[in-house]
């Protein structure tokens, strides 16, 4: 099955992005496909390579980048939500790109399921 994932909350402040990551990993392990993950609202804050969490904590952003690289996942950050929060192309971690909300709608149209992680 093809799953699309929508992440609506920022890292560390809220568990939504952790849950989304764990769901994505579990779905892939079960043989499902996750072609794209879309980051909206404060979820866009998952994408910045400027984040430096303490050494003894998980690094949410690099975890997304690795998952994307290992499994060919398209990590899309909403442009309007990103600009509002100061997320720019030059700040993006590997595997992320900025694009429009149309990319989210396409996920709903084309994939078997769209799963939202948020508050």
């Amino acid at each position: 099955m093809q799953f699309g994932i929508l992440v609506n909350e920022g890292p560390y402040n809220h568990q939504a992005s952790d849950s989304a990551y764990l769901f994505a990993r579990a779905a892939i392990e079960k043989g499902h496909k996750i072609p794209r993950i879309f980051f909206y609202h404060d979820g866009v804050n998952n994408s910045t390579r400027m984040a430096e969490p303490p050494q003894d904590d998980r690094n949410v952003t690099t975890r997304w980048s690795k998952l994307a690289q290992d499994h060919g996942i398209d990590l899309v950050v909403c442009v309007a939500a990103a600009l509002r929060r100061g997320i720019k192309d030059e700040l993006l971690a590997p595997g992320f790109r900025i694009s429009g909300l149309g990319q989210l709608v396409e996920m709903g149209i084309q994939y078997d399921r769209l799963v939202t992680f948020g508050d």
């Binding site: 929508l6 909206y40 709608v105 709903g108 149209i109 769209l114 939202t116």
Partner: protein
Amino acid sequence: MSDMDDMDDGSGIIKKFMFLNRKAPHGTVYALEGLEVVLITAAFDQDVSLVFTDDGVYQLMKGIDTKGIEVKDFSKTYRALEGYDIEKLYVDRTSLDARGLTEDDLIVDVTVLADDEMANLMAEQDVVISF
């Protein structure tokens, strides 16, 4: 919103998208940014339904005035939805009742649904996005 005409993913597929608006219009950004997704989805010619439930019913309340909190008042966007062919607006009766509101308190025409009717409507959808 001028970039929203004639969007198409090329598949010709039309799915039933439900947007579940659960939050008050102000206090968090969910309602404002959620509306953006609704408008884009309509521009893709999808079958869009909007549901207002929990504190989301306050999004449609008459007489919203944001001057005191110095944020944008986007409530007029709900009146403009018809212009985007978004005409399926549903409000959860339980949520209205719990807040002492009736249809007369709302700025647009809606269909008020009981819990079981709402559940049936949700079950018909292909995609449910919750804000």
